[in-house]
């Protein structure tokens, strides 16, 4: 398997706090990579650095053979990296369909073609009957699917998902997990931030564990579950809480 994404020594600090320091990892084509870590570990910052929303102080992000470090977010999207946001960012005053069409327009020049593609993706995320609902009228779980659909519409090779199951009601979690697995089946490489340990252990091929902005482990789920540093990091947060 070849590397789709390589991240080398990626670092960023905000006013003296090292949100990310020297993060190195790679993502293989076709795999699901889980990213775990306690709150404030730097997971979302890592996504922002990879997708160009935050400029890095040091390090490189390489997509296939192309250096995409610190280039504009829209260019990164056009190169085939899609993402969702932890704090959802739907186009609230527009319908689900309109939201997804915006994504589809990246690759499609014709509005009608883009519309049809958007509909297929909405069908893929199981929301077809909600297509004319305004984004603000959808539930949190549905909005997560909306963001996923919107990102998928840009034809990503790599999809970064920030807490797909975070904040949604328990019953909708299995459906969302199933959706992630369906993505993998469709040949999309996925990097997912996840708080639910059971889910992440089940679906990931490999896991990147962060704590206080540093990489503490990068291994298979089995090895991760036995890694003392990871266990400490998590127990540490339980103590603090």
């Amino acid at each position: 398997m070849s590397n789709l994404l390589k991240v080398e020594n990626l670092s960023r600090s905000f006013g003296g706090i090292h949100a990310n320091s020297d993060i190195t990892f790679d993502v293989n084509e076709g795999e699901i990579l889980g990213v775990i870590g306690p709150n404030g570990a730097g997971k979302s910052t890592l996504f922002d650095l990879i997708t160009g929303f935050t400029k890095s102080d040091k390090g490189q992000v390489i997509l296939r053979d192309k250096n995409i470090t610190n280039i504009r977010p829209d260019l990164i999207c056009r190169l085939g990296v899609g993402r969702t946001f932890q704090k959802l960012k739907p186009f609230a005053d527009q319908t689900l369909l309109e939201n997804v069409i915006v994504g589809a327009l990246v690759k499609e020049k014709n509005l009608k073609v883009a519309r049809d593609k958007a509909l297929e993706i909405i069908d893929f995320v199981d929301l077809i009957e909600k297509r004319h609902h305004y984004a603000k009228e959808l539930s949190t779980g549905q909005r997560k699917r909306l963001e996923l659909a919107r990102a998928l519409a840009t034809d990503p090779k790599l999809l970064l998902m920030d807490e797909v199951t975070g904040g949604v009601d328990q019953r909708t979690i299995p459906g969302l997990v199933e959706l992630v697995l369906k993505l993998k089946k469709n040949g999309i490489t996925v990097v997912t931030i996840e708080h639910n340990m059971k889910i992440i252990m089940d679906i990931s091929d490999r896991i990147l564990a962060l704590n206080q902005g540093k990489r503490i482990a990068f291994d298979t789920p089995k090895n991760i579950s036995q890694n003392t540093q990871v266990i400490d990091a998590y127990l540490g947060t339980v103590d603090a809480a």
């Binding site: 829209d74 739907p90 186009f91 527009q94 509005l111």
Partner: protein, 340 residues
Amino acid sequence: MNLISKELLQAKNEPLNYFNKNSLIIIGIVVLGLFLYPFISPSKFALHLLMMIFMHAVMSQSWNVLAGFSGQISLGHAIFFGIGAYASGYFYTKFQITPWFGIIIGIAISAFIALLIGVPMLRLKGHYFAIATLLIGISFQVIFQRWPEVGASAGLYVPINRDSPWLSMQFHKNKVAYYYITLVFFIITFFLVWLLNRSKLGYRLKAIRDQSEAASSLGIHVSKYKVIAFIISAMIMAPMGSIYAQYVLIIDPNNTFSADISILVLLISVMGGVGNIWGPIIGSSILIPISEFSRIYFGGTGRSIDLIIYGILIILICIFRPSGIVSLIPRSFREREKVK
């Protein structure tokens, strides 16, 4: 296959845009009525009033395109009205270039100025952008008040030409021509904005307005499109300045580059409904008659009674109907009535 794909198939067969038959018929009748109106009752005041309504609807639409489509709030939109007025007026006065071509020059200069202003302002967000546009708008007024080439504070008097009304775009005997000119611009502008709303550009701009970060994660170059929206907005505004100049034949910094115009277009849009293409028409149809009638009843500038009413109405709208009067109209008459 299963049920879901049937729904998908049905969805794909839906038209891209819905047209509400009833509203299309109503629009058709209204447009026809407006074209025939001068033949039915050519009262000078009524024509003047309608003309002012059309003109302000277009001016507000210009503002609305910027705010409603890309989320940038301008408090200095009179800049482009003034540029339009001065462009046609100056080139006609100095070089006898027909104002019709002057309109095009005005549009071009406005687009260029919008580009010059728009690019450095991209870094500014929210209030910083709004206040910057307010100050730039006033700066234009200050500069034109002191620029001898364009008559400084006295302004430009467009030379009277009675021989070739169409070439000079001056109609002294009968104001009906002005009515038709504004009506045509009004219809064209609204048709173009309606198209914009449904175009790829429109989708991208509305995405930026609602959530600019998400938009850029979907491959939209946010800065570029913000400048494009600013330029389009400026190009809509400029011809109104030119037509106004030909109508009153006096162009001075106080009646063109006035902060009052910048604020008025904002008030009209908010009154009608920001981000809705009918908003400016509705807002203009409510506010403009107030000032025209108060001018009749109270004389002169109407002792600013119109402004008192404007101000109070706007505050009430902000408190009770922030989405504007358009939100009072039942949804079925607006768009996408087939839904739900």
